[in-house]
Amino acid sequence: MNARKASEPDTTKNHTTVEPKSEREIVVTRTFDAPARIVFQAWTTPELFKRWWVPKSMPLALLSYEADIRTGGAYRLVFDVDGTKTMAFFGKYLEVTPHSRIVWTNDESGEDGAVSTVTLEEKGDKTLMVLHELYRSKEVRDAALASGAYEGMGETFGQLDEVLVTLSA
């Protein structure tokens, strides 16, 4: 029962970095204090995924999450917006390789959606995760930038619902 207390002194939180790598790509990196097998489990077990994909600070309620997490499988996340509308995010898994790689499409915006790739690489008893988002073209990425889709989030998730409305418009 006291296990949680004992593991608490990790005041050195791992940092999330974001870098626009090329004109079509964005790269997010983060280190986790666990073997790749455990990080992979948290990504690919729907009950666990639901808990972290929608952080507590996010003002959106996740209504449902269905996922067939294997190469060729599909996923669908449905959120409640304002209690009046719903919004779905969906796509296919292009590749699911245990403990090392997950690749999926983001099809909610049609043909133009980005392809996301997560790779897990063990470094000692830690795992380096690299999330790579590749847009279909520079134009699509620029359009995403110009729409200001993520701008509000820098301040607070309180604005995220507006952002999502913008995205769906």
Partner: protein, 120 residues
């Protein structure tokens, strides 16, 4: 307009693709600085720093002004409002997600340890 904004974004992204240049922007976000100060801070030659500042200046991210023999740099007209607001929003989303993921991972590790103990 659209074309113009796209070209500006290209220039901004090219400018932001370098760690030193991102560092320079971070530094200028706190206070204006001369090229000499920036060169010292980033352990670079004056010529090297001038090149970096030039790239940032062309992207509109930095503005420079020469007073006497000193060229002072400050954040430029387009500042980072658009680009960093976007990147920062994106980073916050992932950062919040991964902080929660840390908790779940810690839980899974504890469970494994308990199971290991049961087995032995």
């Amino acid at each position: 307009m659209v074309h113009h904004s796209g070209a500006r974004l290209d220039a901004s992204f090219a400018a932001l693709s370098d760690a030193t240049r991102r560092g320079v922007l971070e530094r200028l976000g706190r206070a204006d600085a001369s090229i000499t100060e920036l060169a010292e801070k980033f352990h670079m030659t004056l010529t090297g720093m001038k090149k970096h500042v030039g790239v940032l200046e062309r992207a509109g991210l930095v503005a420079t002004e020469k007073v006497g023999r000193v060229r002072t740099c400050k954040l430029g007209p387009s500042r980072l409002e658009h680009e960093t607001a976007w990147i920062e929003g994106y980073r916050q989303l992932w950062s919040a997600r991964f902080d929660e993921l840390d908790e779940i991972i810690a839980e899974l590790k504890r469970k494994e340890q308990v199971n290991e103990r049961k087995k032995s």
